[in-house]
């Protein structure tokens, strides 16, 4: 009984919050995106704090120079959140649906022709994906924003690709939308991972391949880093609104979650993971795939070299 009550209360609260957030978004925040006239240097990393997920993104993307820097008129966009687990948003196991919605809206605002959203369910088991799409709240959020929820749970959607310069992950099968779309936006959620310490932007890309168990069998950290040799996202938006601090990646209860209300945006996938691990509270050196990513020249771990814009709301 108690459980039910708190869950219902929570839903009510988040609905009110969503409504409030939505109403603040509509009047003023969309127009400034189109009017990006600032001659300031574009930052390498934008960090926003203390706002609702969508509001933080609205402010953050403006600091990044607006969505128009990434999405040109008539282009197709792929938004890849973490929808790998059948969990409701309060577990922090999946990307915040409000954030996904805001990104899609900005994509369309910048003139995108189509926006696709998908993720390959984490256990790659038949018949689980639909539940993940639904319970994460991302399906309905994405559809409301006008995006297309594409399936990723059948091998027919995947195509083999070669990965240049890889030592372990020479070839893999990637989702066809990765090949077809013009712009690739990676939207991971920051959370604990019992077996790789923490999961962030680079690890989120495991959801665009068919056989992720190959990674597990042949060197998880190395494969995670090497995949970026094939394709790096055009933009990474890391959701650290709710951060699962233990029992990751599936989580045990909403008690595992700390409300960090943070958001990171960067084109540099190594930098964003470095910053995210600091937010999580783990030295980036401890997360093997980050160091491997730097070795492969995918990005920079030294945040002092970077131009970071911080915004506390």
């Amino acid at each position: 009984m108690n459980d039910n009550k708190t869950r219902r209360e929570f839903l009510k609260k988040s609905m009110v919050m969503a409504f409030a957030a939505g109403s603040t978004l509509v009047p003023g925040s969309l127009s400034p995106i189109f009017a990006n006239t600032s001659k300031e240097r574009i930052p390498d990393l934008v960090a926003v704090k203390n706002g609702e997920p969508d509001i933080m993104f609205n402010k953050g993307i403006k600091l990044m120079g607006g969505m128009k820097r990434f999405v040109k008129k008539g282009q197709t966009v792929l938004v890849k959140p973490n929808i790998g687990f059948n969990r409701t948003p309060e577990f922090g196991a999946t990307t915040n649906p409000l954030l996904v919605k805001a990104i899609i809206e900005h994509g369309f605002g910048a003139g995108a022709k189509k926006v696709y959203v998908f993720d390959h369910e984490a256990s790659s088991a038949y018949g689980l994906a639909a539940k993940c799409y639904k319970n994460s709240g991302i399906e309905s959020a994405a559809k409301q924003a006008g995006a297309i929820m594409a399936p990723a749970d059948d091998y027919k959607y995947y195509q083999g690709v070669k990965i240049p310069g890889a030592k372990i992950l020479h070839t893999t099968d990637v989702h066809e939308l990765l090949l077809e779309t013009d712009v690739f936006i990676n939207v991971p959620v920051l959370k604990h991972h019992s077996y790789t310490h923490v999961t962030m932007a680079m690890k989120n890309l495991m959801g665009v391949v068919w056989d992720r168990m190959y990674y597990h069998g042949y060197g998880l950290d190395q494969c995670i880093a090497e995949f970026c040799l094939y394709k790096k996202p055009d933009l990474n938006v890391l959701d650290a609104y709710r951060v699962m601090k233990s029992h990751g990646p599936y989580g045990n209860s909403p008690e595992d979650v700390v409300i960090a209300k943070s958001l990171l945006i960067s084109e540099d996938i190594v930098a964003i993971d470095t910053a995210a691990s600091l937010i999580f509270g783990i030295p980036p050196q401890k997360v093997d795939y980050i160091a491997m990513g730097q070795e492969l020249k995918l990005g920079k771990m030294n945040l002092d070299e970077l131009n970071i814009k911080r915004l506390v709301l």
Binding site: Y126, D154, M213, Y218, N252
Partner: protein, 508 residues
């Protein structure tokens, strides 16, 4: 028209039953559950099992129905009967066959099947029920032969609409059914279709154990078919439309025990010399019981009662050939499962993750083609209890989701000599990541995180075995013969929720 024709009602009603049965076996969770809870309760063997197990009384309704109206079950409720009727109709339409002939009596063969069924049940084997129960036979045909056709067309449609970026319908796959099981199903389908084309309802009157039991009851049924022996002009019209071949115009008799209650004969006689009337109007000369029938019937009834009494069943796990199969959550254990599952494969068809797969001999002689959980390509979804909800016999009892999530159907064990983390000292965690109950937990040693298992929480869902990347799998689930309840996972310590000190609001 104006004429009230029972035959027309029968055609409409049976087609409805047939379509609903096929629909249920296509495996949509909610539809299957609804149909299973209603329609399949009045399938003879499922109803009988429910009655014996004390979970349903629909069986009494069937007995009463037959004692009142004869074997109408065979034409109104039995999907396998309707399948034969459709085939018969087709073969008459396209002219393979012109008319039915009176059939030779195969009753001794049928008695043999029935008695063997009962004897094997007494000795703890459901093999004959798995093979010959008409509902089970039909269910397997629908699930393994009709369903792929439907999926094929569904998937073509998906391909077409997806080119327009419409994803509202999705690709549906069916787990590969073991070759032996498919072969048995196919043999039964072709056999029954062949019989129905050339010998009409011969299956019902020469093999079907349910048909025989119903036939025995219909000898004494209240309503029966009668012939006006004085006025009959031996035109044989009725004999030629009788699918059961039970009308003998030469001797002016109708064998009501073989009559499947199709009502074809009633209308065909232009003088209305065949009537469906109650017993008081019966020709008193017609013998109801022949001595040999009476003896056989007594044997059957006696042994049926015996087989229903569980104490007489022999210990069954002795039949197990090797590694016990993992049984669905809700099946309670080996003993309960093998004495209630008819192997209709409704759960196999319904299972959303397709983890349920039939095994021909996995249960030894206790049952043929019973389903088991196969973790090679699938896992049991933690948040699903569809198999129990849809099972028509109660072999897989319906567990509330919370209870199912604590029901141990197997236990995982890790072979460290095969485990990636142990061999390569590299992170994997595929099993732990997939484990929904936190039975698998991480242990860090020299910067490498190893998986360990706590069986107190393991329910045997197979998520770990399915996820394990090694070949052969380092982590495997073995069956638990009597299902148990496990503890709910409680973390030893509260997670550390503090974030490290921050400058300008950020730690960087």
């Amino acid at each position: 028209m104006g004429n009230f024709k029972i035959k027309n009602i029968r055609v409409v009603f049976s087609l409805l039953i047939f379509s609903l049965t096929v629909l249920a076996l296509l495996g949509h969770v909610k539809i299957s559950q609804l149909i299973s809870e209603t329609l399949f309760n009045v399938q003879f063997i499922p109803a009988f099992i429910q009655f014996v197990e004390g979970t349903g009384i629909a069986f009494l309704f069937l007995v009463l129905l037959t004692l009142c109206f004869g074997r109408v079950y065979c034409s109104f409720l039995c999907p396998l009967g309707v399948l034969q009727d459709l085939m018969i109709r087709l073969s008459l339409k396209i002219g393979i066959k012109k008319q039915h002939v009176r059939l030779d009596n195969f009753i001794y063969f049928q008695y043999t099947v029935l008695i063997l069924t009962i004897v094997t049940v007494i000795f703890g084997s459901f093999a004959f029920i798995n093979l010959f129960d008409p509902y089970t036979v039909f269910a397997k045909i629908a699930a393994h032969l009709f369903k792929p056709l439907v999926l094929f067309f569904n998937n073509i449609l998906v391909e077409i609409v997806e080119t327009f970026d419409i994803y509202s319908i999705s690709i549906k796959r069916q787990n590969s059914i073991p070759f032996h099981v498919l072969a048995v199903t196919l043999i039964f389908l072709t056999g029954i279709l062949f019989l129905s084309v050339f010998k009409a309802r011969l299956y019902c009157n020469s093999i079907c154990p349910v048909g025989l039991i119903l036939g025995m009851m219909s000898r004494v049924s209240f309503y029966k078919f009668h012939m006006d022996k004085e006025k009959c002009r031996h035109c044989t019209l009725c004999e030629r439309v009788c699918k059961a071949g039970c009308i003998d115009v030469q001797n002016l008799t109708i064998d009501n025990s073989r009559c499947v209650g199709c009502f074809n004969c009633l209308d065909v006689c232009d003088k209305h010399l065949i009537s469906y009337t109650h017993r008081t109007a019966e020709n008193k000369n017609h013998p109801v019981w022949v001595r040999r029938h009476f003896l056989l019937n007594s044997v059957v009834v006696g042994s049926a009662v015996l087989s229903a009494c569980t104490p007489f069943r022999l210990e069954k796990t002795g039949f197990l050939p090797g590694k016990a199969p993992v049984m669905p959550p809700g099946s309670l254990g080996f003993d309960h499962f093998t004495k209630t599952c008819t192997a209709c494969h409704l759960c196999v068809s319904v299972c959303p993750t397709q983890v349920l797969k039939p095994t021909l001999m996995g249960y030894g002689l206790s049952g043929l083609m019973l389903p088991q959980l196969s973790f090679q390509k699938a896992r049991c979804d933690f948040n699903c209890n569809a198999c129990g909800k849809s099972c028509p016999t109660g072999a897989v009892t319906s567990l509330p989701l919370k209870e199912k999530q604590l029901t141990q159907i197997g236990t995982a064990s890790l072979n460290k000599e095969l485990c990636v983390v142990h061999i390569k000292k590299k992170h994997c965690g595929a099993c732990g990541e997939a484990c929904p109950t936190h039975a698998i937990f991480p242990v860090e040693d020299k910067k490498v995180i190893f998986p360990e298992i706590n069986l107190e929480y393991c329910i045997g869902c197979g998520a770990c075995e399915h996820a394990c990347p090694t070949d052969p799998n380092a982590i495997v689930v073995s069956s638990v013969l009597i299902h148990k309840k496990v503890k709910t996972y409680k973390p030893d310590r509260k997670p550390e929720l503090k974030l490290i000190p921050q400058k300008q609001g950020f730690p960087f």
